[in-house]
């Protein structure tokens, strides 16, 4: 396939850009080989100059524009699909489920979600794909889409978790439960709670959240003469798409080739949905016998793709007068939406984090993922943990107040330290930065805040409040997940004598390519400019596992590091065998390639020694290690409008080790603002199961004005099995700020606020109700 020169996928070169006539690398004093330094990100120059090619930028000769015909009802039997006889279909390709020769499923965990609802099948949510059209002009494709008629027989629908739990309609099995988990620790939790001096109970509601990556989803497909399908798109997990396409199209491994284009943000939103898009373009391209491109516009993207699971969490905590936590009982519910997709794993993470980073002797957690007729909810940074973190950090704050301790003091008294045991019975052996992050925040509070955060508007009369939250986040896949995944990556000398990192860990902005280039060059002991990154493709790299779960640097990075070290040994051995007199590894690589061609070292990940997990009992080492964080915010709440201004935001995160301090800060700050957005502004409005605010105008995310000046504190308590001590950082910044904000608003207004987003409407309603009492 010729993607305008993109088919031979580019290697990402370390920029050798020149600025003001000065070599920048020299200027910033990074001898590149240096870890721990802010080397220019390898894709930086391409991105600031507009040269980086995203899927919509790829020119594909002869490609048709595809569009998706979607359901307008939330739950119905699809009786018939018909084409408007008055429309000219001569130049339009139409695909329905009848055109699927393989298996009509988008394979993920289960096989319940079809690529297209077949005639006679059941529509389970609004905007569910039913048919596909393609034409050589996008306006023509849109017109065709509008002339496909669906005949349906509507069924009663379920739009809320409460309705699902009440079995208003049975959507799945006999209880609407996709998945249930339970964690038990210590004695009977009811007895333990009864023995506590105080029991605090609350239900905490968190809403759906749109990932709102700035680049909408898109994918291009073309079939080769050899019967293989090539897919290029905006995606996080090439091998997820690969696996799903093999099942859908019933193709051999080498007949599906999935390549990532430069991707404009993911945050989980491009973890599972790209398989659906891939299915659609692949089916269209097959029938059309031409390449097909499909790039969603914003409205379609917001309506059809996944969001963060809405979740009410009921939480009870028992504490004694001296401030000791006695017991915790949690009931976690998440709204999975119309198909199972990733909900069981999201639920698992939510449940495992629901007790928080505290010593709690008696625990019961029950979690259920429920079926509804909303579009499926899915992966979003934090993956279930932000929902339950919101609940327990509101509870902890209430408990602290109840026993009359300060926010910091109560947390310090109960927090997990090295050697302590978590709710799943995991003894924390290393890399526990709990005390350090709280100390760092406390110290920063005493410093003068930076200037530049927004002030409340003129004439505003405000009440101010302060809020703290403290949390942890398991890095990598849960339990035995990494051992099942067996993530692999290679470092190679290519035929041209250059080093290449070959992995399918994608760079979606977080800086994977830069980190891997740093790790490989350090392991090889060569200049970073001698290391090239291949654009992730199933054709060119082994399955490194998905780019999710804060695992990329910690897990795949360690594999890259090992592969680099092994490759260096191979080259040194080659030097000895062949009598080459050079210690310069880059030089050896050239010599090797001249003589023998390529040389590749592939390493497979293994969990660190001693990590044990039991999937049946949900006990053991839930994660190899945890990131630790504390967030402190100051807010001003407008008396007249109930708008909240975040005036100060301090966030300390223990990342193990910052391989690239600037990228790490970028991860923390970006996650922080997404969390503040979720806490205060971001609301997905559903009407009859359909997103009613599907634009960037209405489904808002914060601008630079809402964003406060970030006081970011990088704490490093090394993880012995991570590359240079690094552990996961991607998700943890998302977990806690919402609770910190709610704690601060509660502090400002002197009453509890137990839901997010805390839209001014929500605060207004509650303040009015309280005043009326």
């Amino acid at each position: 396939m010729d993607f305008g020169g993109f088919g031979q996928f580019m290697s990402v070169q370390v920029p050798e850009f020149v600025a003001d006539g000065v070599r920048w690398a020299a200027m910033t004093n990074s001898t590149i080989r240096d870890l721990d330094k802010a080397v220019p990100r390898v894709d930086g120059a391409d991105k600031v100059t507009g040269k980086a090619l995203y899927v919509d930028d790829l020119k594909v000769d002869g490609a048709l524009y595809g569009r998706t015909v979607r359901s307008h009802v939330p739950h119905a039997k699809l009786k018939r699909i018909s084409l408007d006889p008055d429309f000219d279909w001569s130049d339009v390709v139409v695909v329905t489920a009848d055109d699927i020769t393989g298996k009509n499923v988008v394979l993920l965990i289960e096989e319940d979600q079809p690529a297209l609802v077949p005639e006679g099948g059941i529509i389970r949510h609004v905007d569910e794909p039913v048919a596909l059209v393609a034409a050589s002009d996008p306006r023509r494709a849109q017109a065709a889409m509008e002339h496909v008629r669906l005949e349906v027989e509507e069924l009663p629908a379920v739009f809320t978790i409460e309705e699902s739990v009440a079995k208003k309609v049975l959507l799945r099995g006999d209880d609407n439960v996709y998945k249930r988990f339970e964690i038990l620790r210590g004695d009977d939790v009811e007895q333990a709670l009864a023995s506590a001096d105080y029991v605090i109970e609350g239900t905490y509601r968190t809403g759906a959240q749109e990932q709102m990556y700035i680049e909408p989803q898109g994918m291009i497909a073309e079939w080769t003469d050899a019967g293989a399908v090539r897919l290029v798109g905006s995606l996080q997990c090439p091998y997820y798409v690969h696996k799903a396409m093999r099942e859908l199209l019933q193709l051999d491994e080498d007949k599906v080739i999935v390549t990532q284009a430069v991707t404009g943000g993911g945050f989980g939103g491009k973890e599972e949905y790209p398989s659906m898009l891939a299915a659609h373009v692949a089916l269209l391209a097959k029938k059309a016998k031409r390449p097909v491109r499909m790039v969603y516009d914003r409205v379609e993207d917001v309506r059809a793709t996944t969001k963060r699971h809405p979740a009410p969490t009921r939480h009870r905590i028992g504490v004694n007068k001296d401030g000791t936590i006695v017991a915790v009982d949690v009931d976690v519910l998440i709204d999975g939406g119309a198909y199972l997709t990733l909900s069981p794993v999201v639920l698992s993470r939510g449940v495992l984090h629901s007790v928080g980073p505290y010593n709690v002797p008696h625990v019961r957690v029950v979690g259920r993922a429920m079926a509804t007729n909303l579009p499926p909810h899915g992966a979003f940074r934090g993956f279930g943990a932000p929902q339950t973190t919101f609940a327990y950090e509101r509870q902890i704050e209430k408990a602290a107040q109840r026993v009359g301790m300060s926010s910091l003091e109560f947390r310090r008294k109960n927090m997990l330290r090295e050697g302590d045991v978590t709710c799943t019975g995991q003894t924390l052996k290393y890399s526990v930065g709990s005390a350090q992050v709280l100390d760092a925040v406390e110290q920063q509070i005493g410093q003068a805040p930076p200037k530049g955060s927004a002030a409340p508007p003129q004439f505003a009369s405000v009440k101010r409040g302060k809020g703290l939250a403290f949390y942890y986040h398991g890095a990598g896949f849960t339990g035995s997940g990494e051992d099942r995944l067996k993530g692999r990556a290679s470092v190679a000398v290519n035929a041209g004598g250059k080093f290449e990192v070959r992995s399918t860990s994608t760079d979606i902005g977080q800086g994977t390519f830069t980190i891997f280039a740093q790790l490989a060059s350090a392991a090889l002991d060569v200049d970073i400019k001698d290391v090239e990154m291949i654009q992730p493709s199933t054709e060119k790299a082994p399955d490194s596992g998905p780019t999710v779960a804060s695992r990329t640097t910690m897990v795949v990075g360690s594999v890259v590091q090992k592969a680099g070290a092994q490759l260096k040994q191979r080259l040194l051995a080659f030097a000895e065998e062949s009598g080459v007199q050079s210690g310069d590894v880059a030089e050896l690589a050239k010599r090797y390639a001249e003589k023998h061609g390529e040389l590749e070292e592939t390493v497979t990940y293994h969990s660190p020694p001693g990590v044990k997990w039991d999937d049946a009992t949900y006990r053991g080492d839930a994660y190899p290690c945890y990131g630790w964080a504390a967030c402190y915010v100051e807010v001003a709440v407008d008396d007249d409008t109930h708008e909240v201004t975040v005036e100060r935001c301090i966030h300390a995160v223990d990342v193990g080790h910052a391989i690239h301090p600037v990228l790490v800060k970028g991860q923390i700050e970006g996650g922080t603002l997404q969390a503040l957005g979720w806490a205060l502004w971001e609301s997905v409005v559903y009407r009859n199961g359909r997103v009613a605010n599907p634009t960037m105008t209405d489904c808002i995310i914060p601008t630079s004005i809402e964003a406060p000046e970030m006081e970011t504190l990088v704490v490093e308590v090394p993880y012995p099995h991570g590359p240079h001590g690094a552990k996961g950082v991607g998700e943890i910044p998302m977990d806690g700020p919402a609770a910190a904000v709610a704690n601060a608003v509660a502090d400002a207004l002197g009453q509890p606020f137990d839901e997010v987003p805390l839209l001014p409407e929500v605060i207004c309603r509650q303040v009015s109700a309280t005043a009326a009492e």
Binding site: F17, V48, G50, Q211, Y213, E215, P216, V262, E669, S704
Partner: protein, 158 residues
């Protein structure tokens, strides 16, 4: 309609539907794909270009309105391999992550520091509010623009 315009210093002439969006003409007819589309409704600013030196959302401008105008897109900012100080600062400070909003930010920031002195953080935040970024939380972007502004003679915050 026949449109004549200067794009990044070069004269261009094309025959097209005048109500087509400037964004589409730049991307499809001129091959300048550095200008991105994020929303199609003037919210995200990823499609920002300069028309006669002024930052605008090219998704909201029909090409008929730029007849005889001078346009600058992200491709026209840097001179060959020479990055501008704004672009360089964006890379150095981590102001570009996924990069999809970055061309718009680079273009907007360029126009701001050309026109206004004394860009402190609060002012930069106000002036960049039309460029949504979902990755950075804006801190690295604001710091990058403040540094570039300071270098050009305005006084940055830090």
């Amino acid at each position: 309609m026949k449109i004549r315009m200067q794009v990044n210093g070069a004269a261009r002439e094309l025959e097209t539907e005048p109500m087509r969006r400037l964004l589409d003409v730049l991307r499809e007819d001129c091959g300048l794909t550095g200008t991105k589309e994020g929303c199609g409704e003037g919210e995200c600013g990823a499609c920002t270009v300069l028309i006669d030196g002024k930052p605008v959302n090219s998704c909201l401008v029909p090409v008929g309105q730029v007849h005889e105008a001078e346009l600058l897109t992200v491709e026209g900012l840097s001179d060959g391999e020479l990055l501008t100080d704004v672009q360089r600062a964006l890379v150095e400070h981590g102001g570009a992550q996924c990069g999809i909003c970055t061309p718009g930010i680079a273009v907007t920031a360029e126009s701001l520091i050309r026109r206004e002195k004394n860009l402190d953080h609060a002012r930069i935040r106000e002036l960049l509010a039309g460029n949504l970024c979902r990755c950075t939380g804006y801190q690295r972007v604001v710091e990058a623009v403040a540094e570039a502004a300071a270098k050009r003679g305005g006084a940055g915050d830090e």
